[in-house]
Amino acid sequence: MTTNPSTQPNARSSMLPESDVVIQTENVSIYYGSFQAVRNVFLDIPKNRVVAFIGPSGCGKSTLLRCYNRLNDLIPGARVEGKITYQGVDLYDPKVDPVEVRRRVGMVFQKANPFPKSIYENIAFGARVNGYKGDMDELVERSLRGSALWDEVKDKLKQSGLSLSGGQQQRLCIARAIAIEPEVILMDEPCSALDPISTLRVEDLIHELKQQFTIIIVTHNMQQASRVADYTAFFNAEAGDGGSRFGYLVEYDRTENIFNSPKQQSTQDYVSGRFG
């Protein structure tokens, strides 16, 4: 086992009482050009659990999330050091096809971003590009039921996805993500643009989805983390050499431990709202 060269205590935060690990994060640092955004993270994601990433702005939680399906590849100058393995395969191995990775690790974004197509096509598109040969109508219905949207849209599948309300759009995006049957779903602050009622529906949905999928959710909302997550990782940001801020993992544990008996003072400060 490597030691964490970070200046922070609690060097290895990834120990979990779970045996079934889907994603392993080993000593990962992420750079944008010469700027280090995330430093030395160790973190294991257990299968069929919900893991929440919390922490102040700029702590690198979204950046790390986007490494798990190689979406950072799309940003020029982004670079990952260390090792991320998905079911034992090194995700950043040059032989790995990023398109295939993204099919298995789906993503739901902060702002609902349906394609400018019909509701039906929003879901069918992903299935089609992945060579789905089965009954498309059935898949669309199953995915929309899975995201608890079917009853609201079943009579207007031909309408544009952009015509739905914000909360519905976000559930459409979740339906789109589950239609391609990924194993992991990444959610980047999926409720930050939603009203409380829509938020509640999405949270209920997350609870149901966990039967089938492994979910990693980035959230600013600590109540949300405590409501939906089995495990919570708290990230913090700190000024490094030269004054630029980098993010690092402070503590990773069962959600109730993070909120009730955190081991680190900064975690305690953050979850009790005494931060900053």
């Binding site: 045996s19 079911q87 034992g88 395969v89 096809d97 398109v99 295939e100 590009v129």
Partner: protein, 320 residues
Amino acid sequence: MTSLTTAQQETLIESSSKFSGVRLTDRIFYWLTVILAIGIGLVLIWITYSLLSIAIPAIASFGLGFLASSTWNPVQDVYGAFPQIYGTILSSFIALLFAIPLGVGVAIFLSENFLPRKILTPIAFTVELLAAIPSVVYGMWGIFIFIPAILPLLKWVNNAFGWVPIFSTSPSTRQLFAASLVLAIMILPTIIAISRDTMISIPPQLRQGAYGLGATRWETITKVLVPAGLSGIIGSIMLALGRALGETMALAMLVGNSNRINISWFAPASTISALIANQFGEASGLQKSALFYEALVLMLLTLAVNVLAEFIVGRFQQVE
């Protein structure tokens, strides 16, 4: 921990064979866009090369002396470009003389709130339409309406200020000065559009700061906004100059196509593009080659001006 079975790992590491066609299409598509993107650069080189290849006989015959010679004699097959270069640069200069104050004035009008937005937007659109009128229509308008209308004024100038060399001849119906005025109208939209964008993009703090110090609206404009947007305005002038140098039809119809240099602005003159438009149809052999030589000069001239404009406008955008 569980690992994938070997078969699953293979599909993750290398895309499964059922997608190989899709992946191949993707690669081909990528390289197609790369080739076309590079193609845009190649087109520029190709244009210059195609001009050069036909101009070579004339370059061989006349060398660089072509640029300074004032003879254009198809009978003796002797050619020189100086009168056209002179006419091209002078007509662009006169056009800028009128277009700069007008264009910057309109740009200020459109970027400051002299009138409510609701009125400014249609005015801005109307000014943009000036750029949409084809140059041949400007030429026709010049022949039938503008020159007849302005001729009395020019005659008066000639009477009153005939002792000034540039106003020394009786105004001709086809002449450099009137053609340059039409040219000024044609390049106006270029100056207005870019200057206005520049003025609008000046950070509002600058404006508020000036007002906060008690400056009047016009003191703010002349002492703060125009200096702040100067490189954008200069860039717009350079682009307009590039357009003026290359403008063909209006000048071919209005400038008079005289291949002699006359010191008076009221006399017929010629420009490079007007000469090409007028003579190309009947030209052959060395004369055609000489026309391509002139075109090459024009190409390099506009290229230099446009590249310079690029750098000036680009520098401004970086400062933002």
